[in-house]
């Protein structure tokens, strides 16, 4: 899951995948806009065939938090 995140993140920003850790912040560290972030989650929805709730994801600041959230969705399918 984390590897897929890293791969998809690189569709939005020029980042070294090896430098992305669970503590990496989307906006502050990666320079994401809020729409980049939403769009990334949309890609992950398609990738893992889950439905993300927009209201629940606005507070996910780090890659690790987003991975945890997605993992819970996938395991609850």
């Amino acid at each position: 899951m984390f590897e897929k995140f890293k791969e998809l993140i690189c569709n939005y920003v020029e980042a070294d995948p090896e430098a992305i850790t669970e503590d990496t912040k989307f906006i502050e560290d990666l320079g994401f806009t809020s729409y980049d972030f939403m769009s990334l989650l949309g890609d992950l929805e398609t990738e893992f065939d889950v439905m993300v709730d927009e209201a629940e994801v606005v507070n996910l600041q780090t890659v690790g938090m987003a991975v945890d959230y997605l993992e819970k969705l996938v395991s609850g399918k």
Binding site: N11, Y12, E28, S34, Y35, S39
Partner: protein, 508 residues
């Protein structure tokens, strides 16, 4: 549609049914299914809501608020309310419960149409807003109004108030822009041949913004194009492929993101022409993108042009319903914000763009002082933007006001956020600004109060304070970057902090 027959929003809905009848007006997702509604159905459902609102108003004019994402039910609530001469108050779906209560009170709302996701707020709203006597979840609107006859309402004057739209203000308190039927209809009718009934659009912007209402909804009713509802900001990519729109209204931030995705895909597949990749991303039928709400980089406009999808950039403000100028691809210079719309006059006064047209608002609701400040005695609306006009095209050079315009088009008043730091002992001075579109608070700590503390201790207090402040504001106003400096800010002679000064503080 003969625009001479259309003077009010009701006329627009009625004429769209007469002209486009069984053509699809709107498509939206319901789970995995797509639901379609035609223009006749929309007209009939609007009349039923109109009858329902009339039954609750006892002959008076009532104000009804509506909150939620774009949906068929949202639009029937909106047009049903205004068709009978009542007033709609569209609220920002991202507002906190406290802000919603405040606006419901200030706008004298009596009827509340809400998406069910706001149900947890209802207890607080009932306590704070005793004037509201009718609550209708949008998901149950159809059943609620089913017993009402689809009867034509009495005709109303185009000068009648249709909507109160709350917008950010420089003083920190949002102002209620009063738009009449005539204002909105003028803006929807000011240009010609913008679309055809063969067009379909994906509506992605927040529906409480007049930009979305006029350019997505009113123009679709006028030209008979099909509105496809984007169900979430997460799913623009999926919905573009699903609905295959021919046009789209965007803010620059979304256009930037989509372009980045196309470029990345292109570099991963060097053998595939980039235009083919763009076609796949946009669904294959997109002809033009309309952009507004924030600054569009000319380089981005050029990049889209090379993909074969021109971006047409316009300019306006809520107070002008909203269009002052509109994108015109013929002869665009990539630096302008479009040609001035018909019926609108633009005059530059001391560098500031002022506009006069039938689209200019009636004023701010219950705020005569602010109205007098915005519209001068000769009827010119002062936009607060600096710029010039050349060959009937508007060029923007800056903003007179201090409002922070984020790249997603949201307006944030720095004073409103700075006021939240007032009285905090460890802070001597604070300035809030946008740094690369990220809302940033920079402080100069009080040397006296902090004399026995380490920088890290002060930084911790600052972080905690901002965390608490962020809990009281909507997500678009969240302070996400913090800076701390060890020298005072540069000030004017009247001891006010200069807004446009070099960033000196260190990131913390």
């Amino acid at each position: 549609m003969d625009k001479n027959n259309v003077k009010t929003l009701y006329d627009l809905v009625k004429n769209s049914a007469a002209c486009y009848g069984e053509r699809v007006f709107l498509k939206e997702k319901n789970g995995k299914d797509i639901v379609e509604k035609d223009h006749n159905e929309f007209y009939e459902d609007v009349l039923k809501v109109c009858g329902f609102v009339a039954s609750k108003s006892e002959g008076r004019t009532v104000h009804a608020a509506v909150i939620g994402p774009t949906s068929y039910a949202y639009l029937t609530a909106y047009f049903g309310t205004v068709s009978g001469g009542n007033v709609i108050v569209p609220l920002d779906a991202q507002l906190s419960c406290t802000d919603i209560c405040e606006l419901l009170q200030r706008a004298d709302v009596e009827i509340f149409f809400y998406d069910k996701r706001y149900e947890p707020m209802l207890d607080q709203i009932r306590i704070s807003c005793p004037a509201i006597h009718t609550y209708v979840p949008l998901q149950e609107l159809s059943e609620t109004v089913s017993a009402f006859e689809a009867k034509e309402p009495e005709s109303i004057s185009p000068d009648r108030l249709a909507a109160i739209v709350y917008t950010s203000g420089t003083t920190g308190k949002s102002k209620g822009v009063m738009l009449s039927h005539g204002n909105l209809i003028d803006n929807a009718m000011c240009m010609d041949n913008e679309s055809t009934e063969e067009d379909s659009l994906l509506t992605v912007l927040p529906i409480h913004h007049v930009y979305c209402l006029t350019c997505d909804i009113l123009l679709s009713l006028r030209y008979g194009c099909c509105i496809c509802v984007n169900d979430s900001m997460l799913r623009i990519g999926q919905n573009l492929k699903l609905f295959q729109p021919t046009t789209m209204l965007l803010v620059p931030m979304i256009a930037e993101t989509i372009y980045k995705q196309i470029k990345t895909a292109a570099s991963a597949k060097p053998d595939v022409p980039i235009k083919a990749i763009a076609d796949a991303v946009f669904g294959g039928k997109l002809k033009v993108i309309y952009s507004g709400g924030a600054y569009l980089r000319p380089e981005l406009a050029q990049a889209y042009m090379e993909l074969g999808i021109p971006i047409s950039q316009g300019y306006g403000m809520t107070e002008c319903s909203p269009r002052i100028s509109t994108g015109d691809l013929n002869g665009s210079t990539l630096g302008d914000v479009g040609i001035i719309v018909k019926g609108c006059q633009v005059k530059i006064v001391d560098g500031e763009i002022t506009a006069k047209s039938p689209s200019v608002m009636m004023g701010y609701y219950k705020d005569e002082a602010a109205t007098a400040e915005a519209i001068d005695s000769e009827g010119w609306l002062h936009t607060g933007d600096l710029g010039y006009v050349e060959d009937n095209r508007i060029y923007i050079t800056g903003r007179k006001k201090n409002l922070i315009i984020l790249s997603n088009g949201e307006n944030v008043s720095p004073e409103e956020l700075e006021n939240k730091f007032a009285g905090v002992e460890f802070i001597a001075e604070v300035l809030v600004y946008a740094d690369d579109s990220v809302i940033t608070a920079e402080i100069f700590p009080s040397p006296d109060y902090c004399k026995d503390m380490t920088n890290e201790q002060v930084a911790d207090m600052f972080r905690e304070l901002v965390n608490n402040i962020n809990k009281t504001v909507t997500s678009s106003k969240t302070i996400r970057r913090l800076r701390m400096r060890n020298v005072e800010f540069d000030k004017t002679t009247s001891k006010k902090i200069r807004r446009n000064q070099e960033i000196q503080g260190d990131l913390i």
